[in-house]
């Protein structure tokens, strides 16, 4: 369903982590409190956001880890399978991240990912499952799925995982995870 045009008011920060997070190839979860909007949104009749953005900021690393991280929002604590599509937000594609700390490169600076999670917010809120006071964000490393039949692919994947377990995944630093209402 197409969204309505974004309102004129600026996005407002309603919650963020207060310390950096390091991704080292394993699943990682962060939680942070969310406050009520205090800006122009609070003065609207409905006081509900027309847009909701999850922002992953200042993502830096010395070397590219060679993997992608999937991002999920508000995965329930009792959900053992975080690759739950209902809470899927998007991927952190780290192409070029090795230049993020190199001031000799034109593209120095942390990567910034802004995900529009308005649909997810609307759906979870409609079901009464959106926590108005806290947001949970899960990062799940993704590997490549080998081509071929499913069993062979699964076997290859397990082999790859076993091999990968012996390798040290270069760490990726996430400066801040934040939530914006607009």
């Amino acid at each position: 369903m197409p969204l309505e045009p974004a309102p004129d008011r600026p996005p407002e920060l309603v919650g963020a982590t207060d310390q950096p997070l390091e991704l080292t190839g394993d699943r990682a979860t962060v939680r942070f409190p969310v406050s009520r909007p205090a800006g122009p949104l609070s003065r609207t009749e409905a006081a509900t956001p027309a847009r909701v953005y999850l922002v992953v900021e200042d993502v830096e690393a010395d070397t590219n880890p060679g993997i992608v991280y999937a991002v999920f929002a508000n995965v329930p604590d009792d959900d053992d399978d975080p690759t739950n599509d209902a809470h899927y937000v998007g991927n952190l594609s780290l192409f070029g991240i090795e230049s993020s700390r190199d001031l000799d490169q034109d593209h120095a600076g942390g990567l910034r990912f802004a995900f529009d999670i308005t649909d997810l917010y609307t759906e979870l809120r409609g079901q009464g499952r959106w926590n108005e006071e806290q947001v949970t964000v899960t990062f799940e490393p993704l590997g490549l799925v080998p081509a071929g039949d499913a069993e062979a692919a699964e076997a290859d994947l397990e082999l790859d995982v076993a091999e990968d377990e012996e390798e040290v995944v270069p760490p990726v630093t996430v400066g801040r995870v934040s939530l914006f209402y607009q």
Binding site: T17, F32, G39, E57, D104, Q105, G110, G175, R176, S178
Partner: protein, 240 residues
Amino acid sequence: MALVALACWALLAALHARGSGLPDGHGPDAAHTAADHMAMHHAATQPAAEHTGSWLAAQGNWLLMAPAMMLPSALPAARHVALNSRWPRRQRGSAVFVATYLAVWLLFGSVVVSIAGWAHLPTGASWPLVLALVVAAGWELTAVKRRCLRGCHRTVPLPPDGWKADAACARFGLRYGWFCFGACWALMLPMALAGHASLLLMVVLTAIVVAQEGLVKGTRLGGAAALVLVVAAATVAVAA
């Protein structure tokens, strides 16, 4: 922030138009204030030692020049702080950022103005300004300058609340100021020597700073900026 910069520019322009300026010895006399194009020549011919004035007045001039010239280039960073702070903290976060950023420049100005006063530059000599412009032109072509400009475009994570948020804004201001100092100290050096007597020179140098720090590809303007500075140095030298 923009209003503060504009107010500083207006005050400097008014002082320049009055032909008095603050009594630091850098102010132009009334005979030379009719047109901006004369200002550079005037700045070059004003002897530094002739009007040593008071040290405090010289610092006062720098207090106006530093915000006027350096705040415009910091507007995007201050906006970043505001947009990434909680709504009630927007102005506070920006104020902490700007205060620490300007502190770097005020410290620089204080040191340079003090050294200039202590050195008793020769009366009527334009060579200090010419030399400063040539140094600035050379600095434009260095790799360190480009690294510092890239550093100006980097941000730091800003916690949402409490003393951590204030500390992060202050750290961002210091870091931004440090990189900005590395990129622009040579551009500000001529102004520390010429004072606000040269509005035209101020405009030219501010335009270079804003273009280099504000544009995405500002690091590629080093050659053009160096050329402009060499021309300015030649103009001062010829007019002296």
